[in-house]
């Protein structure tokens, strides 16, 4: 006869615990901003230096650590060197924030565009604009048209490939969560299962160790890796754009951020006045030519 009261007691305590947990726990933050701001209305005024930033008067910009060349130099985003660092400061200037008003923050690549509350005003980290990512975050206009490229060790079988078909039988690798990995699974469709790494460094080290035959990265990164990091590797070729629109890097903002339209128009202005082209030439000038894989 003691079974029933025990079950009852347990049920009651379980219910109480669940109730408390729900009540005390995770009251979510409202997402109402997202719906009325997503279209990027022009009503927001982009008063120079007076935007509704995380810390007023400061512009918080995020990127991953380590910050890779040629996008940044010496792993120091704040030195203004490297393409993305230069673009970030140009955007900041356009928005009315001078160099001293820019605060850098380290945010992992995958986390930058994951859903959730953001601690930065915008993130600049070679994030390609994609419809799936757009569901979770806002993007500015693209600041760089990017192509994906394949790297292999010189003299290897992979280095001799001249077409996508020539890559099919190889062991390919890329960083997880990147469009590079999508190119492997969606464009190359290799017969061997691809390798997915948490960091680009690990993909590079796997390439050096012969654990993969070739890796896929974006073209400027490919130039940096082959010219500085793994000098016995070469760029096998670059992929053509998939679909009609070119793949573009965009600045990442919180979903429904008040800043999205301002940041976007700042990027557009920089493209219009030729600043982006100038910076591209300055920092990514050698990243122009690589054979196209068909």
């Amino acid at each position: 006869m003691h079974l029933a009261p025990r079950v009852l007691r347990r049920a009651i305590s379980a219910a109480t615990v669940a109730l408390l947990a729900t009540a005390v726990g995770c009251a979510p933050q409202p997402e109402d901003k997202a719906s009325d701001q997503a279209s990027g209305s022009t009503a927001t005024t982009c008063a120079k230096g007076k935007l509704a930033t995380q810390t007023s008067g400061k512009l918080t910009i995020a990127t991953d650590e380590p910050a890779y060349e040629p996008w940044f130099e010496d792993d120091k985003p704040a030195n203004g060197k490297g393409f993305e660092s230069a673009v970030a400061y140009a955007v900041a200037k356009q928005l009315g924030y001078d160099k001293s008003a820019v605060v850098w923050q380290s945010v992992p690549f995958n986390k930058a565009f994951a859903p959730g509350v953001k601690t930065f005003d915008f993130d600049i980290n070679q994030v390609s604009i994609s419809p799936e990512r757009k569901k979770a975050v806002d993007f500015s206009s693209g600041y760089y048209d990017v192509r994906q490229a394949v790297i292999a060790l010189k003299g290897s079988k992979a280095a001799k490939a001249t077409s996508i078909a020539g890559l099919k039988g190889l062991k390919l690798g890329a960083q997880v969560g990147t469009t590079s990995l999508n190119y492997i699974s969606d464009v190359v469709k290799p017969t061997q299962q691809e390798a997915a790494f948490s960091k680009n460094d690990q993909a590079v080290s796997a390439l050096k160790n012969g654990q993969v035959d070739a890796i896929v990265v974006d073209l400027p990164t490919a130039f940096y890796i082959t010219s500085a990091e793994v000098t016995n590797a070469k760029i096998v070729g670059q992929f053509e754009n998939q679909g009609s629109t070119p793949e573009q890097f965009g600045l990442v903002l919180d979903k429904g951020s008040d800043l999205t339209s301002c940041v976007s128009s700042a990027v557009d202005a920089l493209r219009k006045d030729g600043t982006l082209a100038k910076l591209e030439k300055q920092w990514l000038s050698d990243a122009v030519d690589a054979p196209v894989l068909k």
Binding site: L3, L8, I12, T22, Q202, A203, N209
Partner: protein
């Protein structure tokens, strides 16, 4: 004597006053009938109360969870049917790698762990260096974080370009898991060996068994049998940690879900992979419970310990 009579005889003990006495057919007393009816009512009432309260709890939980602010977003983020369907076959495909790793590493870990445990419990001054080495091994690999171990072995070892050493991240990852887990398992075995009372060994020796025979036929069987539950515990843990070989680029169940989750920015694939692991672990823990219970029964009945 019929069965009925036999029963009545036994029941008679507590209904003495009402028994008519003699060998007549048993007629339960009124008091007894009342008591039984009362018991039945109580049991029915208890069942009814338990059922109602379970139902109420379920309804309350359902209402609380579903009406909680943010439930819609939680559902979209963690329980999206579309992504679950996409992830499930890929996770299963990756899981096959985890299972193979578990089987191969499991066997290697048991063998290596046993050898280290024996090395650590050997007696005699000549075995001193062996004892020290075995102790150093367990100390080092139990203290070394598994993730560091994996990164050293998976990324570091191939950089040495050793001849005849594989660069396959799965084999290397398996080797790292074996190194760490054999240290744990060695300690489990050692605890087992030391838990066998010294008199057992003394008795074996007095019967003329050599040290080695005493270890093989008297100490180890008892030690291993006692340590089955903690060993299975370590195997369950190993099974989950096989997911860590994905850092080398191998696509197991964890990484397969990771790829979809990172692309779609939806965390349903993680839930799917997590549940698959839980589903794999539950039979193993139940098996552990069953083995333990069976051993306890045997011991209680005076069987071998």
């Amino acid at each position: 004597m019929t069965v009925v009579k036999d029963e009545s005889g036994r029941k008679a003990a507590d209904d003495k006053g009402d028994m008519p006495g003699g060998g007549d057919a048993y007629v339960p007393s009124q008091r007894r009938l009342d008591r039984e009816r009362h018991k039945r009512t109580r049991a029915r009432r208890a069942t009814a109360i338990a059922a109602v309260s379970t139902l109420v709890t379920a309804v309350v939980l359902y209402v609380v969870v579903v009406s909680a602010p943010g439930w819609e977003r939680t559902k979209e983020t963690f329980f999206d049917g579309h992504y679950a369907r996409e992830a499930f076959p890929k996770v299963l495909e990756g899981l096959w790698l985890n299972i193979r790793l578990l089987l191969i590493c499991g066997v290697l870990v048991l063998v290596l762990g046993m050898l280290i445990a024996i090395a650590r419990t050997l007696r005699g001054p000549v075995f001193f260096p062996l004892r020290v080495l075995a102790a150093a091994y367990t100390d080092f690999f139990r203290g070394l974080p598994l993730i560091i171990n994996l990164m050293i072995v998976v990324f570091g070892v191939p950089a040495l370009r050793l001849q005849g050493v594989t660069v396959d991240p799965v084999w290397l990852g398996g080797a790292a898991l074996t190194l760490t887990y054999s240290a744990y398992v060695a300690e489990v075995f050692r605890a087992g060996i030391e838990s066998v009372h010294p008199s057992q060994r003394a008795a074996a020796r007095s019967l003329g068994l050599s040290n080695r025979q005493a270890l093989r036929h008297v100490v180890l069987p008892q030690a291993v049998r006692r340590q089955v539950p903690p060993l299975l515990n370590d195997l369950v843990s190993l099974q989950k940690d096989t997911g860590l070989v994905s850092i080398g680029g191998a696509i197991d169940a964890v990484r397969a879900s990771d790829i979809i989750a990172q692309r779609a920015l939806n965390y349903t694939p993680y839930i799917v992979a997590g549940l698959v692991f839980v589903a794999l672990t539950i039979p193993m823990t139940r098996f552990t419970d069953w083995v333990t219970a069976r051993m306890d029964r045997q011991r209680a009945q005076g069987g071998t310990t």
